[in-house]
């Protein structure tokens, strides 16, 4: 087979940029929504003249931003509320599946209106796997920037943590927290789940005048990622990641390696934030389809496939030196390969 046959759709290389756009949009919304809420409260108070100058700036800028879209900002802006944990997106109520799991564990009851809000995320997770982590999660946005910061530190010679642990540990975290919830009598996952914390803390900081307890926890996870293990929280500890991995175990959309195009450069393994092994077809249920490996692959050997199963390890890539040494003869016969090294 020649590599030319299996060239992927050209846009796939650029999905990673789209992902960053998505992450920044979500983060931007998390900052914008508290400001819109403040604006709504200022309107409700009917006291523009009594606002502090700083509050007037918020009022004016939010009025400018929202005026083209709403007639009655005090009520119409209620269509856009909340965080990724649970929120209202243009009138559609959505909740994190982990919020549902935690709430069921804590109360032992199915609250149907609430279950309905989590159905769309659950469905999407079953199709696209752990996509929330890579494409939406506001904590992931900060964690990835933290990874970049770690690279800078290493460039100037400061040591960052590169420990590897068992990725199974996060499933233990998930189950222990869910089991503890009824004993605590509260939805305990909410306190240790970074995206919920980030959304909440941004709101606290903007609307209530300061960070809360969660900020301490989140700073701790940032330091953990920097000093102990790269992306340690998401890889080894996050209960949400564990739940989505389980939900997305039989996901339909998967990234797969085209062994004929692969030159074993291992850039995919280096770039994978979740510590997976694309080089040896090791995606598994924890791949979040973030497409970072696709973007970095020099030979476009990583493609999207609609299938419920990963392929087994197909051995060294056909463009690699190792493979060419063994199959040297066939190599000389096939045209258009020379540029592959």
């Amino acid at each position: 087979m020649t590599p030319v046959d299996s060239k992927p759709f050209f846009f796939w290389r650029h999905l990673n940029k789209l992902r960053w756009l998505s992450l920044s949009m979500v983060f931007f919304m998390l900052v914008l929504i508290p400001f819109l809420h403040l604006y709504q409260t200022y309107i409700a108070a009917h006291a523009y003249d009594l606002l502090y100058p700083s509050e007037k700036i918020i009022y004016d800028s939010m009025e400018t931003l929202s005026a083209p879209f709403v007639n009655d900002p005090e009520n119409d802006l209620d269509l856009l509320k909340g965080t990724t944990w649970s929120g209202r997106l243009f009138g559609l109520d959505l909740s994190d599946p982990l919020a549902l799991a935690g709430q069921i564990a804590a109360s032992g009851k199915l609250l149907w209106p609430f279950v309905l809000t989590a159905l769309i995320p659950i469905g999407l997770t079953m199709i696209f796997g752990r996509f929330f982590c890579g494409w939406i999660c506001p904590a992931n946005f900060l964690y990835e920037l933290n990874t970049t910061f770690g690279f800078w530190l290493r460039n100037i010679g400061i040591h960052t943590g590169q420990r590897r642990m068992s990725r199974k540990f996060k499933y233990l975290v998930l189950f222990v927290t869910l089991l503890l919830s009824p004993l605590l009598g509260s939805v305990a996952v909410a306190a240790i789940y970074s995206p919920a914390i980030v959304g909440r803390e941004i709101y606290y900081a903007i609307a209530l005048g300061g960070f809360g307890v969660g900020a301490v926890f989140f700073t701790g996870t940032l330091l953990f990622d920097l000093l102990v293990a790269r992306r340690g929280f998401c890889r080894y500890l996050c209960p949400g990641g564990a739940l989505y991995s389980l939900l997305g175990r039989f996901r339909l959309l998967r990234i797969q390696r085209v062994v004929e195009d692969c030159n074993d450069c291992a850039k995919c393994n280096a770039v994978c934030e979740f510590g997976l092994d694309p080089l040896r077809d090791g995606f598994g249920m924890e791949c979040n389809n973030c497409t970072a490996c696709m973007a970095v692959c020099p030979t476009d050997a990583l493609v999207f496939k609609v299938t419920a199963k990963d392929q087994p390890d197909r051995g060294p890539g056909h463009l690699s030196r190792q493979y060419r040494r063994v199959h040297n003869k066939s190599f000389e016969d096939s045209p258009g390969i020379e540029g592959g090294t």
Binding site: I33, P34, H37, Q40, T41, A44, E74, D78, K81, G82, T83, W85, S86, G87, R88, D93, S95, A99, G102, Q103, A106, S107, L111, P113, F114, T117, S181, P182, L183, L184, G185, S186, V187, A190, A191, A196, G199, R200, Y203, Y204, A207, L208, G212, V213, G214
Partner: protein, 191 residues
């Protein structure tokens, strides 16, 4: 002290200090702080296991009355909403119940009958030794602030407030009281 021993003591100390905070009873007992749950909220234990700490109630409150607990009311109450009526009282707009995704704060229509039937945050209590009207200086500010005048709060000849059973505990009277400390305050029910 050896490091291992020190770590042992530190962990044991932290664990024992957190222990009383972890039970729901401790949260219900309410320590120093007098707080109200948002209007219509379930009784404390049920509220805590329904609430997913999304903060939507606070984010939708037009009066910015809803704030969120840190660790001060126990681990079980972490990030749950509360109202301190003296700082900012509830205007009974019922928007928080409308947006609450889990029904920890149930949906309640904004009519006097519905609100009186379903909202029970607490009940106002008058301290007659502090109240100006009981000292002969007619004040009546609490009566004018009450959203259910003559139903929840009646006044006498010199505007002395009398609280009735119909009081839902919104706290607008406490917020408006011109005395420092306030002569009327909400005694929370937490049902």
């Amino acid at each position: 002290m050896k490091r291992r021993a020190f770590l042992g003591y530190a962990i044991a100390g932290t664990a024992t200090s957190l222990l009383p905070l972890t039970t729901t009873e401790a949260a219900v007992r309410q320590g120093g702080q007098r707080y109200l749950r948002p209007p219509g909220a379930h009784e404390e234990a049920e509220f805590l296991d329904h609430c997913i700490r999304c903060g939507l109630c606070g984010e939708t409150c037009p009066n910015r009355a809803i704030k969120f607990f840190g660790m001060e009311n126990g681990v079980a109450s972490l990030d749950t909403p509360y109202i301190t009526p003296r700082e900012q009282a509830c205007i009974l707009c019922m928007k928080c119940g409308d947006i609450c995704p889990t029904g920890a704060i149930p949906k309640i229509t904004r009519t006097a009958e519905e609100v009186m039937a379903k909202v029970d945050m607490g009940q106002a209590r008058v301290d007659e030794t502090l109240c100006l009207s009981y000292q002969g200086k007619t004040c009546g500010v609490c009566y004018r602030a009450c959203p259910l005048p003559d139903i929840a709060l009646r006044v006498g000849m010199l505007e002395q407030p009398h609280v009735s059973e119909a009081c839902v505990g919104c706290g607008l009277c406490e917020r408006s009281c011109i005395q420092i400390p306030q002569a009327i305050r909400i005694i929370p029910h937490h049902r």
